[in-house]
Subunit: 223 residues, 2 copies
């Protein structure tokens, strides 16, 4: 195994074992390199790799720190990877989202706060009846993110955030080519919100399923 890979494993080990905790500062490059028995150049490769997946946070002029390791950071790393899977596997991503989104929406129905419900409503109102496709999709992302956050599961939230990315383009495309897509999306958002207000988990789940399935169905018929 290359010395850089060893360094990655050792740093990972220090974090997993608890020797390094979230927010901790690592020794400076030269010291850490000496401690791990490799050159500064090779150590930098290890640090850079761990930095890409948000394990480490490198600040020039300051130092290198362990990130919070929040599951939310998992998302960002994942969405980077997901970016590489385009077109051919979008349907598979969408299928997974179709499983998770309704479940998350149902969970949210039981614990979303009144303030958050009002915020979601205000968001929909602000968009109006004839938004641009780009605005609609951006609002779509934000709407679902707000709901999923209320599910209380940050891992679920992160996964869905990561999964929503690659399908964004597809949704924009749909909005531009399918006549009633915009109006339909707006109606479904209203329906989901109404179900959440009623604390009706099953209705919320069903509307979320319909919502995702409509995109999936369109995409399947198009490809």
């Amino acid at each position: 195994m290359a010395v850089t890979d060893e360094a990655i494993e050792k740093i990972k080990g220090m974090i997993v074992s608890g020797a390094l905790r979230p927010g901790d500062r690592l020794p400076k490059e030269s010291e850490l390199a000496a401690g791990l028995g490799l050159s500064r150049n090779s150590l930098r490769e290890a640090v850079r790799a761990l930095s890409l997946i948000r394990i480490l946070d490198v600040r020039q002029g300051d130092g290198t720190y362990v990130t919070s390791l929040d599951p939310q950071l998992l998302l960002e790393a994942m969405s980077f990877v997901v970016d590489f899977h385009r077109d051919d596997t979008v349907l598979e991503f969408l299928a997974v989202r179709r499983i998770l989104e309704p479940a998350a929406t149902a969970m949210a129905a039981l614990r979303i706060s009144e303030q958050q419900l009002d915020a979601l409503g205000a968001q929909l109102d602000k968009l109006g009846d004839t938004p641009s496709v780009e605005d609609l999709v951006a609002c779509d992302l934000e709407f679902h993110r707000g709901i999923v956050r209320s599910s209380g599961n940050s891992v679920l939230c992160s996964l869905l955030d990561g999964l929503s990315g690659p399908t964004t383009r597809a949704r924009i495309w749909r909005g531009l080519t399918q006549e009633d897509a915009v109006a339909r999306t707006l109606r479904e958002h209203r329906a989901i919100l109404a179900a959440l207000r009623d604390r009706d988990a099953e209705a919320a789940r069903s509307w979320a399923t319909v919502h995702v399935a409509s995109v999936e169905q369109w995409l399947r018929s198009t490809l």
Copy 2:
């Protein structure tokens, strides 16, 4: 933005745009560095980072290649990240698995082949009635992996594989401390297999839910 980060983005762009396809070989380090306008050292940091998340495959003495970019590779990168989330967030991972696993099992019920059913049965038979906890958990992982693969969705398969990792320790712990955990797991596996043989998606979904929920319930009562 640092030159290394720019290089990462540029390489990513070359792959996403299709200029570099899965399996393609990159120019050698010195040429690519010159082409991207940075030093070989800095470029190596970018390549190492992309190599960690399985976007690139570096072979000493040969060259650097774009990996297959299969969703399956997404899993390996994710499980590396997931390794950092221990104990405190295991319940959240398990909750997500509880959503995905039943759905995947239900999907598999509709399309799993007879050969795969036989293979799963043979696997359970081979384990016997009183396996060691380690063997059971290993078999557990393999059993569910075999089923999920039959769902036909490789993204789903990768995600579940990644999610199962962090809960493995918990399951071993459970097997060691809870009296009837082993027998119960064996019974539930048999029930899932029977439901798959019957092509009964709803029964398969329910048994899978029960199966994951039993681990979740135990863990929740223990923490």
